[in-house]
């Protein structure tokens, strides 16, 4: 025991966070000692609040402090659009862009028959029910581009085949600002396949 118990405990707690090892945890714990008293209070309170105050939105599964999340509470959004994401972090990413004005739905995983994850395991029924009930016109799938993502996308579009709901997915291709040399061949193949005509506006 090289530090007082409090510091040693704090180091152990920091180590529970992703990617934090002994040295970094030690650095953070010692830096915590130098924080102002009000920051310390806020920090301590926010951490315990994560268990007591933060819940999941009953409608879309986003992080929320009330029954509905801030986005579901907002009546000024386009109720005909629903973006399906894998986690609340994706919602934050889309919200940062600020151009999407519909609602979201967080599914709790992706279908993966190899890992024994079937549609019922990720609670897709709730999503399907919601789509049918809320008169949604377009479902935009924004899940990870992977076999599991594809399987999940196909499953959802198959179930909604007999409805008027349009199912789309976000485009995959070469990211802006990237040298083409550094893009993997699968992405490049997709980018070539999904090429768009260059339109001359003049």
């Amino acid at each position: 025991m090289h530090y007082p118990h409090t510091i040693q405990n704090l180091i152990e707690c920091f180590k529970k966070l992703p990617g934090i090892g002994e040295k970094t945890a030690e650095r953070y714990a010692l830096a915590t000692l130098d924080l102002d008293e009000d920051v310390i209070k806020q920090f301590s309170k926010s951490i315990s609040d994560t268990k007591t105050k933060v819940k999941r939105c009953s409608r879309c599964n986003n992080l929320a402090e009330d029954d509905l999340c801030e986005i579901c509470k907002d009546k000024n959004r386009d109720a005909s659009l629903l973006c399906v994401v894998e986690d609340p972090k994706s919602i934050a990413l889309f919200e940062k862009i600020g151009t999407y004005n519909g609602y979201y739905h967080v599914i709790s995983g992706l279908i993966s028959p190899l890992d024994g994850i079937n549609p019922e395991d990720i609670n897709l029924d709730k999503l399907i029910d919601r789509i049918k009930k809320e008169k949604i016109k377009e479902v935009i799938l924004a899940v990870k581009p992977s076999i599991e993502g594809e399987t999940t996308s196909l499953y959802i579009s198959k179930i909604l085949r007999d409805t008027d709901v349009l199912v789309s997915k976000i485009a995959h291709g070469v990211p802006l600002g990237t040298e083409i040399d550094y893009v993997d061949s699968l992405t490049l193949e997709l980018a070539l396949e999904n090429r768009k005509q260059v339109i001359d506006d003049n």
Copy 2:
């Protein structure tokens, strides 16, 4: 506001720690949500305890939860040795090695005339008093190898010149396991200057 208040507050708190930016803070805050309830309690408590429970040892300035730190409380150490360090973290480093068995003293900075930091600003009197009072035989300086470190070392040895106290400093040189090519020239110069004779034991 893309996250509930609690998460947003937690992100702001994590950002106060060294080297944590927006993205990392977001990652840690979301990971905090997944921690077990008892870890959350411990985490929250440890953070607030840093302000209420952690003090400085009245004898050596190390981090402590009582009047004396765990090391000063330990009567089985060699009271004739005193290692002078810059911060409690250095003590933890030496304790991890486990070969040093004397006591420590943390000074609150290094003398730096250019920055206007004089001996009285870093409370060197307390150290000198302690050395004279506690019948210490050797003071080992383990401060940063820099102009400020040298100045502080020289100042302490000058003050103790008329006493029987031996003042030493830890060796500087090429670290083990390092390619000589990567060592800076000042370190290499020091290593050459402080060369030791190779003794053939046979």
